[in-house]
C-alpha cells in the first residue's frame, strides 16, 4: 500500500463510522421531517400531500400561539436572567471577591447535574400544599392556608417554571464565563487599576468587550436550548392545566404521539428549527453592531 492510499484508507476508517451514524440518525431524519411536514399522515398508508396546510393550521392555533409566547418568555429568562447572573457569579469568583470561591462554585453548579425529570418532580413537591415553598410562605406571611395559585392562571402558569429553569441552568453559564475570564491576564486589570480605573470601569471597558464573543455564543446556546425546552415542563405540568404552561415542543409531542398527526408534528418541529435560526441571526446582527461600536 502506497503512503497516499494508506493515508486515504486511514482517513475513511476514522471518519466514516461517525459520519454514517450521524447522517442516518440526524441528517436523514431532518430531511424526511421537512418532506413530511407538507403532508397529512397518521402512520399508516401513504402520506397525502397537503402543501402548506399544516403550517397554516399551526400558526392560527391559539394553543400554539400561547405555547410560542411561553417559549419566548423562556428565551427572555435565559438570555436576560441566566446569562447576566452567571456572568456576575463568574466575575465575583474571578476577582476573588469572596473567600471559599471553590465551595460556592461547586454548590451553584450542582443543579445542572440532576436530570430534568428529577428537578421537575422535586419542584412540584416544593410548590405543593405540603412543600417547602408553601411552608416557607406560610411561615413568613402567618397565613396557614396559603397555597400557590399561579399554576391555575393562564398568564402566570409559566412563571414558577421560569424560576426553576433559572435555578437549574445559571451554574452552567457561570462555569463557562469563569473559564474564559481566567484566560484574561490579571496584569491587564492591575495596570488599569494602577492607572486609577474603578472596579466598574474595569468591568465595563476591559472585561466586557473581551467577553463579547463568548457571551454571544452562550446566547446562541440559550436560545436554541430555550426553544427545545421539553423534559422539565413535560414532567412538571405536561403543558397543563388547559395548555396554560404549553411550550412548542410539548405541542409537537402531543400532536404527534397522542393524536398520531405525524405530518403536523413534523411541521411543528421544522418551525422550532426555523425559529432558532431566525433568533440566532437577529442575535448575531446585534453582536456585530456592538463589536463595531467597540472598535
Amino acid at each position: 500500500m502506497s503512503n497516499r492510499t494508506q493515508k486515504r484508507y486511514s482517513y475513511w476508517m476514522l471518519t466514516a463510522p461517525s459520519i454514517v451514524v450521524f447522517v442516518l440518525v440526524i441528517m436523514f431524519p431532518v430531511m424526511y421531517s421537512v418532506s413530511l411536514s407538507f403532508s397529512e399522515w397518521s402512520g399508516y398508508g401513504t402520506p397525502k400531500f397537503v402543501g402548506l396546510k399544516n403550517y397554516i393550521d399551526i400558526l392560527s392555533d391559539p394553543i400554539f400561539l400561547h405555547g410560542l409566547r411561553n417559549n419566548l418568555l423562556i428565551v427572555i429568562i435565559s438570555v436576560f436572567g441566566q446569562i447576566p447572573l452567571g456572568f456576575i457569579f463568574a466575575y465575583i469568583l474571578y476577582r476573588r471577591m469572596v473567600k471559599g470561591g471553590r465551595f460556592f462554585q461547586t454548590m451553584i453548579f450542582l443543579p445542572i447535574t440532576i436530570s430534568s425529570v428529577v428537578v421537575a418532580l422535586l419542584w412540584n413537591q416544593i410548590f405543593s400544599a405540603s412543600g417547602l415553598f408553601t411552608a416557607f410562605i406560610r411561615l413568613i406571611t402567618k397565613n396557614p392556608r396559603y397555597v400557590i395559585g399561579m399554576f391555575e392562571q393562564k398568564n402566570m402558569a409559566i412563571i414558577p417554571i421560569l424560576f426553576v429553569i433559572l435555578w437549574m441552568h445559571t451554574g452552567t453559564y457561570m462555569v463557562i464565563y469563569l473559564a474564559n475570564l481566567q484566560k484574561i491576564s490579571p496584569s491587564i486589570i492591575e495596570a488599569a487599576q494602577i492607572d486609577g480605573a474603578s472596579e466598574g470601569q474595569t468591568l465595563r471597558c476591559i472585561i466586557l468587550p473581551g467577553m463579547l464573543a463568548v457571551i454571544s455564543t452562550t446566547a446562541i446556546f440559550a436560545i436554541s436550548g430555550s426553544l427545545k425546552a421539553f423534559d422539565l415542563i413535560y414532567a412538571m405540568t405536561g403543558g397543563g392545566p388547559a395548555h396554560f404552561s404549553e411550550v412548542i415542543a410539548i405541542y409537537m409531542y402531543v400532536n404527534t404521539f397522542k393524536y398520531y398527526k405525524y405530518g403536523f408534528g413534523s411541521a411543528v418541529s421544522i418551525i422550532i428549527i426555523l425559529l432558532s435560526v431566525g433568533l440566532i441571526l437577529i442575535l448575531l446582527f446585534f453582536t456585530k453592531r456592538l463589536e463595531r461600536r467597540n472598535e
Partner: protein, 278 residues
C-alpha cells in the same frame, strides 16, 4: 495587591448574592434528602420537620415497587455503551479533521456544527418510523444508536479543537519510522488526548444518563426504559405516597451528585471548552 476601599461595597454585594444563590441551590436538595426519610403522613403534616425516626422503608419500597433496579441497570448500560462509542468515534473524526488536510473535512465539520443546533424533537418522528421499518424499535439497540449520534456533534467539536493544538512533530517522527496513520492514532493520539477524552466521556455520560425524550418515545416496554422515565412514572400513576416519591428522587439524584463531586473539574472544563473564543 492591596485591597482598595472602593472594593468594599463590591464585597458586600458579592457575599450576599453568592450566599443567597448557594442557599437557593442547596436548600431544595437538603429538604428532599431529609423528607425522603419521613413517612407520607409526617411529610404532609409538617413539611419542615426533622424526621422523628429515620424511615428507611421508603427506599426499599421505592426500589422494589418502582422496579428501579432494572431502570438503573438500563441507564448504566445505555450511558456506558453509547458514551464509549461516541468518544471513540469522535476522537477518530477529530483526529482526521485536525491533522489530515482533506477538503471534505470542512464539509463534515460543518455538518456536525449544524448538528449542534438540531433538537431531538425535530428528528423524533422520522426516527421512530425509521426504527419501526428496520425493526429495532422498542429495543435496546434502538436507544443506543440515537444516543451515539446525538453525543457526536459536541464531542467532535471538543476533540477537533484539542487535537488541532498538539504539535505535528509527534506524528511526523512516527511517519518517518514507517508507522501507519491508524497506528499513530492508537499509539500516539489516544495517549496524548487523555485529558480531552476524560472531558468528552464525562460530559457525554452525564447527558446520556439524564436523557428523557428519546427513551420516552422510542420505547414502550418498561423492561428497557431508563431511570428518568422510570422515575417520571412515579409522579403519575404510581402512588400518592410522597415518602416513596422522595426516596425515588433521591435514588435518581445521588449517583450523579457523587459522580459530579468526583469529576467536577473535567465536567466544568467540558462545559467551558464548549464555548470558548476561537
Amino acid at each position: 495587591m492591596l485591597m482598595k476601599k472602593s472594593l468594599l461595597p463590591w464585597k458586600i454585594f458579592a457575599y450576599s448574592i453568592m450566599i443567597l444563590f448557594t442557599i437557593l441551590a442547596i436548600a431544595p436538595l437538603l429538604w428532599l434528602l431529609v423528607s425522603s426519610f419521613k413517612p407520607h403522613v409526617e411529610i404532609v403534616r409538617n413539611p419542615l420537620s426533622i424526621p422523628q425516626s429515620w424511615y428507611v422503608e421508603n427506599f426499599s419500597r421505592a426500589w422494589t415497587q418502582g422496579s428501579l433496579g432494572i431502570y438503573f441497570f438500563n441507564s448504566i448500560l445505555y450511558s456506558a455503551i453509547a458514551t464509549s462509542i461516541t468518544t471513540l468515534f469522535a476522537l477518530g473524526a477529530g483526529y482526521t479533521f485536525a491533522k489530515f488536510n482533506y477538503r471534505i473535512s470542512k464539509f463534515f465539520y460543518a455538518l456536525y456544527t449544524l448538528g449542534l443546533l438540531i433538537t431531538v424533537h425535530s428528528v423524533i418522528v422520522p426516527l421512530f418510523i425509521l426504527e419501526t421499518n428496520v425493526g429495532i424499535d422498542n429495543s435496546r439497540l434502538g436507544v443506543i444508536i440515537p444516543y451515539i449520534a446525538f453525543g457526536l456533534p459536541f464531542a467532535v467539536y471538543l476533540a477537533t479543537g484539542f487535537l488541532k493544538g498538539i504539535p505535528d512533530s509527534l506524528e511526523e517522527a512516527a511517519l518517518i519510522d514507517g508507522a501507519t496513520y491508524l497506528q499513530i492514532f492508537r499509539h500516539i493520539i489516544i495517549p496524548v488526548a487523555t485529558p480531552i477524552i476524560a472531558t468528552m466521556f464525562i460530559y457525554t455520560f452525564l447527558s446520556n444518563w439524564n436523557e428523557f425524550v428519546l427513551v420516552l418515545t422510542l420505547t414502550s416496554k418498561s423492561a428497557i426504559r431508563s431511570l428518568p422515565v422510570g422515575i417520571n412514572s412515579f409522579a403519575g400513576g404510581m402512588s400518592r405516597d410522597y415518602g416513596l416519591q422522595f426516596a425515588a428522587l433521591v435514588i435518581g439524584t445521588i449517583p450523579m451528585i457523587v459522580f459530579y463531586l468526583i469529576f467536577h473539574e473535567y465536567l466544568e472544563k467540558g462545559f467551558a471548552a464548549g464555548v470558548s473564543k476561537e
